[in-house]
Symmetry: C2
Amino acid sequence: MSEPVREAKGASLARWLPLAGWLAHYDRHSLGRDLLAAVIVSVMLVPQALAYALLAGLPAQVGLYASMLPLVLYALFGTSSTLAVGPVAIISLMTASAIAGMSGTDGAALSTPEMLAAALLLAFLSGAMLIAMGLLRLGVLVNFISHPVISGFMTASGILIIASQLGPITGLSLSGGNLIAMGESLSSGAQELHWPTLAIGLGCLTWLILARRHLKHGLMALRMSESAAGMLCKTTPIIAVIVSSLLAWGLSGPLEQGQLVQGEQLEQGKSGMALVGAVPGGLPDLSLPSLVSHDWSGLLISALLISVVGFVESLALAQTLAAQRRQRIDPDKELIALGVSNMGAGVSGGMPISGGLSRSVVNFDAGAATPLAGAFTAIGILLASLWLTDWLAWLPRATLAAIIIVATTSLIDIAAIKRTFRYSKGDGAALMITLAITLAQGVESGIIVGIAVSLGLYLKRTSQPHSALVGRVPGSEHFRNVERHEVETDPELAILRIDESLYFANARYLEDTVLALMAERPSLKHLVLACQAVNLIDASALESLEVINERLSAAGVKLHLSEVKGPVMDRLKCSELPANLGGDIYLSTFDAWQALSIHGSHCGQSCARDGISQTAAVG
Amino acid sequence: MSEPVREAKGASLARWLPLAGWLAHYDRHSLGRDLLAAVIVSVMLVPQALAYALLAGLPAQVGLYASMLPLVLYALFGTSSTLAVGPVAIISLMTASAIAGMSGTDGAALSTPEMLAAALLLAFLSGAMLIAMGLLRLGVLVNFISHPVISGFMTASGILIIASQLGPITGLSLSGGNLIAMGESLSSGAQELHWPTLAIGLGCLTWLILARRHLKHGLMALRMSESAAGMLCKTTPIIAVIVSSLLAWGLSGPLEQGQLVQGEQLEQGKSGMALVGAVPGGLPDLSLPSLVSHDWSGLLISALLISVVGFVESLALAQTLAAQRRQRIDPDKELIALGVSNMGAGVSGGMPISGGLSRSVVNFDAGAATPLAGAFTAIGILLASLWLTDWLAWLPRATLAAIIIVATTSLIDIAAIKRTFRYSKGDGAALMITLAITLAQGVESGIIVGIAVSLGLYLKRTSQPHSALVGRVPGSEHFRNVERHEVETDPELAILRIDESLYFANARYLEDTVLALMAERPSLKHLVLACQAVNLIDASALESLEVINERLSAAGVKLHLSEVKGPVMDRLKCSELPANLGGDIYLSTFDAWQALSIHGSHCGQSCARDGISQTAAVG
């Protein structure tokens, strides 16, 4: 008798801590797969973490900190066995934009510690919002961002990210959250290309692109197995990191080398090349972000947008990967897992995080079996930040920019834009507006306008509903559009098929349509609204139907309804419409036709004459 | 040949200046009707105009100024022959709320000239927005405010207006744009009822209520004709005005009377009773509102809300009145007419205006034949402000409060609230949320939240679309819900009828529904989506269908579509879905049944055996 109880307890624990569900079955085989995946992902994540922290305008170590505790927390709470969380490009860009929108206590731009505090707060708030959404089971809310809007937003963000990296890669000074601001920052003051930076940047870029395209086949030609060649290809960024760091170290003099050893801030080598600079080694401090010293209410909208975008991106990624292994993702649990991870980032010196595309795919390909792979990755990052920080200081920023650019090209999806336009001009317009606003105004305006546009587009589509006058297909019980088919009609009877639910946005349009019809057809005695496509009649539409009924009655025309669906009819019965209706409510349009049309009664008689009962014809 | 040209020119002029359409046919009969209506409306409008200006927190004469030029402009541009525009209760309340939200140059509350300037600017901006909406033909946008939201907003505004008048009628000091602020202002500091004020206020209130209920029948009992008695009843407020002004004058000493004659500001009589005070006589100055000295951008949202609410109110009123005379209102021309009138108010010392309910009904009942009645009313108001201002100074504010209270009770419509709740809990909730937020937070938050709630409600309703597994009604071509009817089914075939358009908000829901169905029915080989109620498939839903198709194919299930509507099919043909679809697209669900079901093929065989061709059975 104790067994079911234990099971139930286990199930309830697993409900909030998915770890409890799979840890019992964990074996040496899974451990091996998770460890291998963790090693590969760690090697890939170190430069990405540094790069995305710089993209967010924060010190490089913040990226490392955001890749420790959050990964462990996701391993505990996440439902995806392969999603690899951490700093990602779009969320870093949004973080930069949110922080840039703030001003310090004296109204000036934020100092670095202030920016850091804001990033922590942003991660913490956005985590709290994700958890709240999860507890309220609001995972479905992401559905309100349409695919074209996401597509336009991703492509525009990719362009913005790549544009923002043109500064570090060329040595030019470039800043701003949108293309216009970047253009202005570039044109202000005389700027000169910094040739050593450009050389390193373009060198890395060329290496990364060539390696991505050809290295795997090259290695396979050297008789390496396909999977080993694939894994090795993922380490190409780390090779760029090592080679360019050595170059930067070689180009600098012993003076700078000595300064760096003493932990001083050194952001430029002797050559004038921008470096990552001194990265504090070791573990981050744990502390709650200070809500008092900051105007945190100003970060609320940004935190909300970061939550939503991060969640949409993670969920889509996790579901795609899960489908390939026939696993299932629970959106509400994912909300909580991402929320806890972000709060973890907020208390451990990190920045807002999300599921990263490239590293999740690598994690998946490397065979990660459980979320423990993420926890092992966190250990890898910890080891790197204990032992490698002295060397990471010499890493040129141009190298990181090249890594970001190559990783970000996958966000830009021109084929999706073309496909959307070919399918529907309206959806294409929503996509292009989102894309244009994101480029011109930045990520926050872009996503807000995008959501508004897709809602507006849908409302516009439904606010002028398609309707058609229908007539009877001769000899059948079917009714078709009089403009498209040869059908029987009756000058005293109009049957209007409404091809949309009736609600406030189109209620008045229906009034106009019916009144125009009445004006055109002075001989009209009966109007039937065929409601087979009407899934809802809201209170506003009910009032419009009452108005239509009154006006038609005043003009001596009876209003009838046909094919009203069950749930709609249940609702109508609670109103006074059925009692006040000038005409009747028919189960089928054919019933209405038989009762009201001259053909209908004629057919009834002729059918009777032909020896077929009228009932059979109706049935 | 010149005739058609002249006609076309006349038509084009009438397009923008409806006056050009009817002025040619104007005759002595119409003139007589318009003059009579103008006299009655003027008598009614003078106290209302003063009252609504005070409600908006502005000097009393602003109400008179807003009843001159705007009325003339509406006569030129309006399409309603009976709509009487001018200061109205809700718009005045919204104006007060907008101005209260501003702060002066030194951060303190606005001075009276600053408030006046803000009101002018508000009228001007809101007029400009209305004209812009009219030129862009956005009259249809008002449909996006649902009836329950309007109903809740009107009732709450009525309650707020009546509550705000409890101050002037009792002599207590009461202020604020919502019930909470009013309650706080009332409880701050020791307050005492002012008995003479209360006596005048309650006296007027009693007179107005009794007169409204019984005077008409009383006069008719005295053998007065019904129409004359009706007209006379509309003058009851002016009787309250005259009697209470005389009382206030009598109660004051010669000193105050002398001060007032010299045009000094005198807002209290000797008795301590609040009076209207010195009203400058004559015409307002014409001048453009100053855009420079003010933070006018802060008024933009308020101006937009005032435009929308004023337009919704006016349009509904004008259409109701027009329907009774079988006339038609053009929403886009009304936008322009109201816009020009509001801009007129903005340049002639007025305040934002709209169509007023009670005075439009009086105008209609008095037989106003053309918009000229409004222009004559403006002349009436002009005469009043030339000759009556010395006397209006003695008018107690309590009298005006009583007039506002009685006029505002018509806004409160408890029956509509009950009706809405009975019909639909969702609509009822939208109404109550709008009502509660308006009462607790004020008019601007109320209308914004109301619009958001009604959109959200609609999206929620459509985001979890009703769908039903259907089976064949034996012996027929009809398919019905398997849970509600006795129908034929097939373990290898599922027919899912989708009762909603497919778009981004419900695309994922469809995925979940189909995947859950697939998990429940391991024997499934064919899934048919019956699309007769699908009026739209947007780009997001298309992607979901592609995902569904892929997942079903992977599991060995074929996806078919049936009864796809013409416009939806045209769209699908532009995508790759038809080519990639695992199954086929059938014209009717019955076709799909015949092709895919074991019953279908069996029936085909048995029908053939029975000597009836299969084609006939399909047709």
